[in-house]
């Protein structure tokens, strides 16, 4: 009876023994993990992509230390023309690859930090609101709603106008603090419907603290859902950052994939046919975010046997 579903939905018959129920299958799952991980095409492919991107982001600027904002060749050079600028050059003769690598770095950073922050806040609020319900729920709900509808763009405008220069760090933190509401709402909704399941009641009956129930009963039950949430926030953060950069609220003086597109557009790369200026950043974001999503499903199938069977 190794099925995760079996273990998590089975009412634990002996009161003092309840704690074992969720943990036991978890242990086994860990054992199975590697085995299936190495057999999941989705997982392997996405991990491969992420590793490649990570190498580019980390090693790229080291191997090719070209300053992304400095003139590194003739302007508007087609990728095939100069070996020095194998991604071509921008309108100013900046090296597109240098910009791409540094931009990718920024994206990873924003995703990890912004997404992580958002997920953390979202889970805490979502769980508590959904599990406790009542007035706590009402209040947290209110907070969430406020954050949900506050025009973050406007807030960003106010904040940035006080900063002479905005960094990627700032952008990431800002995104983290503004992107959690939907996650909180989603997690709350899930928790809400789980709350009324018997095994939760039982756990409650067994007099376990709310936190224990959340951590050991609810969270494991929606772990893959939580992971999906984090992945979405991770990717979301990257996409939001790109949008911010694109409307000209991005990091000043730095480089990011969104900024590349912004510059490409303001400098009419489209009309001048400098496609190699705005195609790479898009591909980069898609590859990065897409790989994250695919990996999520891969892991999903690894964790949950039922999916494997499909």
């Amino acid at each position: 009876m190794t099925a995760a579903t079996d273990a998590t939905t089975k009412p634990s018959p002996v009161v003092d023994d309840a704690a074992k129920v969720p943990t036991a299958p978890a242990r086994r799952a860990r054992g199975e993990f590697l085995f299936f991980a190495l057999r999941s095409k989705k997982f392997l492919i996405s991990v491969a992509i992420l590793l490649v991107l990570m190498c580019v982001a980390i090693l790229g600027p080291i191997i090719d230390p070209t300053n992304p904002l400095a003139q590194a060749g003739l302007p508007m050079r087609h990728p095939t023309l100069d070996p020095g600028n194998w991604f071509g050059t921008t309108y100013f003769g900046e090296d597109v690859f240098a910009q791409f690598a540094n931009g990718l770095r920024a994206s990873f950073f924003v995703g990890l930090l912004g997404g992580g922050l958002g997920a953390a806040i979202g889970m805490i609020i979502g769980f508590v609101a959904g599990y406790r319900g009542g007035w706590i729920d009402e209040i947290l709900n209110m907070v969430t709603n406020v954050f949900l509808v506050i025009p973050t763009l406007a807030v960003l405008l106010v904040i940035t106008s006080y900063l002479q220069a905005r960094g990627v760090m700032f952008e990431a933190i800002f995104i983290g603090f503004t992107s959690w509401p939907w996650a909180a709402r989603a997690i709350r909704a899930q928790t809400f419907s789980l709350r009324s399941r018997d095994f939760i009641d039982l756990a409650k009956l067994s007099g376990r603290s709310g936190w224990k129930v959340i951590v050991f009963e609810i969270a494991p039950n929606m772990s893959s859902y939580l992971f999906l949430t984090y992945i979405l926030l991770f990717g979301g953060a990257i996409l939001i950052a790109a949008s911010l950069d694109f409307i000209g609220l991005g990091p000043t003086g730095g480089m990011s994939l969104g900024l590349m597109m912004y510059n490409a557009v303001t400098w009419a790369a489209l009309q001048l046919g400098i496609w190699w200026w705005f195609i790479p950043p898009g591909i980069g974001i898609i590859a990065l975010v897409g790989a994250l999503y695919v990996m999520n499903v891969g892991l999903d199938e690894i964790f949950s046997p039922k999916l494997r069977e499909l």
């Binding site: 508007m76 309108y91 106008s161 002479q164 000043t252 557009v265 303001t266 400098w267 009309q271």
Partner: protein
Amino acid sequence: MQVGKSRVLALLAAASIVASACGSSTATPTVAPTTGPGATPTVAPTAAPSATGLPATDTTVYPRAQTLYTSGKQWGAPSTWNPLDPNAAMGVVGLQYETLFLYDPIKDVYTPWLASGGSWDSTNTTYTINVRQGVTWSDGSAFTAADVAFSINLYQNTTLGSDLFTFVKAVTVSGNNVVVTFQGTPAYQEWNQDLYNMPMVPAAIWTQYNNENIFKFLNQNGVGTGPYMYKTAAQDRMVWVKNPNWWATAALGLSVQPTYIVDIVNSSNNVALGELLSGGLDLDNNYLPGIAQLVSGGYNITTYFAGPPYMLAGNTAWLVPNTKKKPLDDPAFRKALAEAINPQNVVVKDYGNIVAAANPTGLLPVWDKYVDQTVVKNLGVTFNTAKAKADLKAAGYKVGSDGFVTNKDGSPIKLNLEVPDGWSDWMEAENLIAADAALAGININPTHPDDATVVNDEKGTSSAAPTFDLVINNDVQIGSTPWTYYDYIFRQPEIAAGPARNRNYEQYDNAKAWALVQKLDQTLDVTAMQAITSQLQTIQLTDEPIIPLWYNGEWSQVNNSVWTNWPSDTTYHVQPATWNGYWQMGAIYMLTNIKPAG
């Protein structure tokens, strides 16, 4: 069934736009001009064309061959058509409302327009305007000397705050003439400027609006004398339709070619460029990156000059130092800074040769005759890193451990150079400038906060003095007189910080210079003027209160696929621009000269 649903949705969507768009064309608020006696201002302009033998086509579709598409002036949705409001829609002054004279900066000549002539008396104390006869307003009523007198007086409305009211004493009608008398010596330069900037409006309609709320009168679909009349406006466009009864056709044998002029609100440079390349736009007065490549790119696009600098010079871009701050309060340092910067870098690397480096005085080419070349030769600053270093050393600025010069007290120097975020060409320029300065050991930190912050740092507020170190500015446009240029640099007394501070940002304080500027204003004779400007240049090039860098182009690129025979140095020489004031500076001739292609 689901597919059906989607179709319905699409329909609903489109329908809702149709509704809204139809609404939006009339959504712009209008103040119904209450009809004064004898005048019936509310003429439906769409009715006029069909009534007067214009192509009786559906006037809601503009045939491409008869329509001129322009872009560049309008940054926001057209929202007021009040010719006295500096924010009036493109063409309100020039196409709809006209001025007494035209001024051609290239030839430096005034052409009588709504005035058939104008002259100073023997003592140069009163000015007589001969009002042109046979001119009619677009509502059919006659244009009279009374209208002229009214318009001049209206122009003294303090809300509009031209300086006119400070020196005009009286405006009197005598027959078909209008006689203007002045307090003391007339400010000739300003008056001449006003002659081609004052819009003539019908007294009958405007009398009631001559108060401090004059800007509240939006005057949509107003009554003017010009070659075009209001057709329609929307969030993203301003549309003019030809005035079939334009006086100049009979009087001067001039006829504007396009039946419709559609001015497209700038959404962003690149969209404009796209439209231009695809032939959707005939005349584009935006700064477009890479135009040099496009001219040679077989897109049928031309500019005023076939080669560099491609554009006429439109204004001067300066590096403005805050002379109230150390070390920028030291002329020696400012000169060294000027020597350290190579404008040619900006010209080539940033603009790809579509602009030209500025003369050391910064005076625009149209004012060349006011430049004293000997003064320039003796005092003029030229790019020379070595000399900059030497001069800094001589002035007592030592080089610190980081290789940058320090203040005389040894404290480090770090000058923030601000340009508005998103002004892509200037953002690139500031990097190049900083790089040049660094070579001479001057530490400039290029920043681009948003526009509001720059404006704020530049103007200061009622509570705080200006905080900037260095900014780039190009507020003085070409015009009839170098006075505007020097008034801008030397204006005294210091204007209180705040929105009204729109001159002398560097806060340079020199009473002698200011006296000369005022004298210049009150000088009519060119040689006398040259004498004064020569003295001003001596002061300017000695103290370097402001550092001229390059001449911003009069951005103008045209597509020849629908309209040809555009202004250029090989055809006819007029300003190819749609911005405020340019119609009266000859651009109107562009409309009478262009020809349908093919």
